[in-house]
């Protein structure tokens, strides 16, 4: 069980100064290596002595991973760019405000100063059974302690659960999906670029990870195309403590309207499943429809189809329905319905 000792297990610390060196180290140590970005997720694991890597590769000294660059078609954000830098960057604020909004709602100012965008999208789930060191599915065992009649599962999944019911806790992930971002990975086989939504995986594919990174892989940058620059954005995060908490659920949407009708839209929610969910069915259903309460209600109902609540998280169904409704029709139009 997790016993916080505040003394981390011994490991070999590597502090490479280039991506090439970092990748060489990751390849060299394979599954024994731990990638350290801002350290906010990592130090929990290490101090609780639940994860005991032999080698820790600290990326903080790699300058090339820490900047926001404009490209021919949009921007490229280094994976080690802090959330505060993302929030304050003028181009992000001006054209991709959805990401700035999402990043600004992550935890506290101190955490945003230290936490990185790459770390935020790659962080592990907050399921306390898993983080407590219990031998659950996600930890390589054969049981989910949360998905039981007595399990504490108020924060857990209502969609796409497959043995494990943990959820992804990232705030920036749905915003990046809505912005049609692409994640740049360096793998032993070379560079690989994947759509934001394909970076995340559910337990049905791999029950021990929330993303596609394999040992030896490194997330180096996130590219946001100009497709949705300056669109109408909506981000809302629901959490227990508004000053500082992980999301119970959040929603992010990017929308382009023509007159009163929705011309094109991308919408994603997180906190409902083990991966942030892009709501393609909702996007298809509302395209061409007027942006009003009726469309929002229809979208909300569609979004929660197939939801299966656990013992203590049935509230997430109306929560998700309402968040989607508000994202589509706007807060003024949408009245909160239980």
């Amino acid at each position: 069980m997790a016993v916080i000792r505040d003394v981390m297990p011994a490991f070999e610390l590597f502090q490479p100064s280039s991506v090439a060196d970092a990748q060489k180290l990751l390849e060299q140590h394979g599954p024994d290596a731990w990638v350290l970005a801002g350290g906010l997720d990592s130090f929990d694991w290490l101090k609780d002595r639940i994860r005991k890597p032999k080698a820790v590769v600290d990326l903080s000294g790699i300058e090339e991973l820490r900047s926001v660059r404009t490209t021919g078609d949009g921007i490229e954000i280094g994976a080690m760019t802090t959330l505060t830098e993302v929030v304050n960057h003028p181009i992000i604020k001006q054209k991709y405000g959805l990401l700035a909004q999402a990043a600004e709602l992550v935890a506290s100012p101190q955490i945003r100063n230290q936490g990185t965008l790459g770390g935020n999208v790659s962080q592990d789930t907050r399921c306390w059974y898993y983080r407590g060191g219990w031998p659950c599915y996600r930890a390589g065992g054969n049981i989910c302690y949360a998905d039981t009649p007595e399990g504490r599962n108020r924060e857990h999944a209502i969609l796409h659960a497959d043995r494990c019911v943990a959820v992804n806790p990232s705030d920036s992930a749905p915003a990046l999906i809505a912005l049609d971002a692409r994640f740049v990975l360096r793998t032993p086989k070379g560079e690989r670029v994947v759509d934001a939504e394909d970076y995340f995986i559910g337990p049905e594919i791999d029950i021990t990870r929330l993303h596609i990174l394999q040992p030896g892989d490194l997330l180096t940058a996130i590219r946001i195309p100009s497709t949705w620059a300056g669109a109408q954005f909506y981000f809302e995060k629901i959490r227990d403590r508004n000053v500082w908490d992980f999301p119970l659920m959040n929603v992010a949407s990017a929308m382009v309207t023509s007159g009163d009708s929705i011309e094109r839209i991308r919408i994603a929610v997180n906190g409902a499943a083990a991966r942030p969910l892009r709501l393609k069915a909702v996007e298809d259903a509302v395209r061409g429809k007027p942006r009003n309460t009726a469309t929002g209600e229809m979208a909300g109902k569609l979004a929660v189809q197939g939801a299966v609540p656990l013992q203590f998280n049935a509230y997430k169904i109306p929560l998700m329905r309402n968040l989607v409704k508000r994202a589509i029709s706007g807060v003024e139009e949408a009245t909160w319905a239980s």
Partner: protein, 290 residues
Amino acid sequence: MGFLEWATSPWGQSVPIHIAWFLIWVSAIAGLLFLMVHATYVMYFAKAREFAGDSSPQASAGIPKHVPRHSLVARLFHWIMAASMFTLLFTAFLPKVGVQFNWVTYHWIAGVVLTVSIIFHIIHASFWLDFWSIWPDKTDVHDAWKRIRRFFGMSAAPPRKFAKYPLENKLFHGVIILCGLSVILTGVFMMSRVRTIFFPRNPYLFSDMTWGLMYVLHGLAGVGLIALVMMHVYFGLRPEKRAITKSMIFGWMDRDFYLKEHDPKRWVVETSSSSSTSSRVEGRGLTDAG
């Protein structure tokens, strides 16, 4: 490097959680080695098989050109079982060796198909087929002893021809029963840990230790089936066994093969002359349990 993976339960008890996954490769390599050794032996060292006695011309005369071996129902069962078994093996082990896909649903559906087909087979074989034809009998044991002595160059009379199923076939069937029932029985209980249409999830049906042992047994039987299925497919493809494989497709085997390998007294085939009087010596020749 242990054969089992262990974990500490919430109660502080050390419990097994599953087998070590390198056993997948152990089983696959063992299966492959068996195939290579057997193929080499047959190609370079095996002597021609010799059987005691011969079919009397009178007995042979009544044997039809196509000797019925497997009924349509038995063949359907075999191929349904084979399809579900392959699905189970691929869905169980491909994700463990790095091919990731959504496997759980396919796995439990294939498991249900296998379970239902096995239950059907047990009932069908018990009440409609010659149940004992697939189990070793005294003659098999005596003949096996003779074959072993002859293999090592010692003196022994030639063995009799086979009944409907050679001893190796019967032993394989026995091992498959052990592995198959192990994965099925444990698998049915394990279904209570995933979301299915059958019953509500109940991971607390057993203690952590019992669950752990169940997962271990499921895994051991599962990896065992990798080697067993490899062997089965290998023998199905061997040229000298082709008549048997064909019979599992078409339901019959050639008269020549039947007379060469099988003893008409041990595997009685209903002939046109005997069908009215049913001159069976042992068993019910038209049926099978394999």
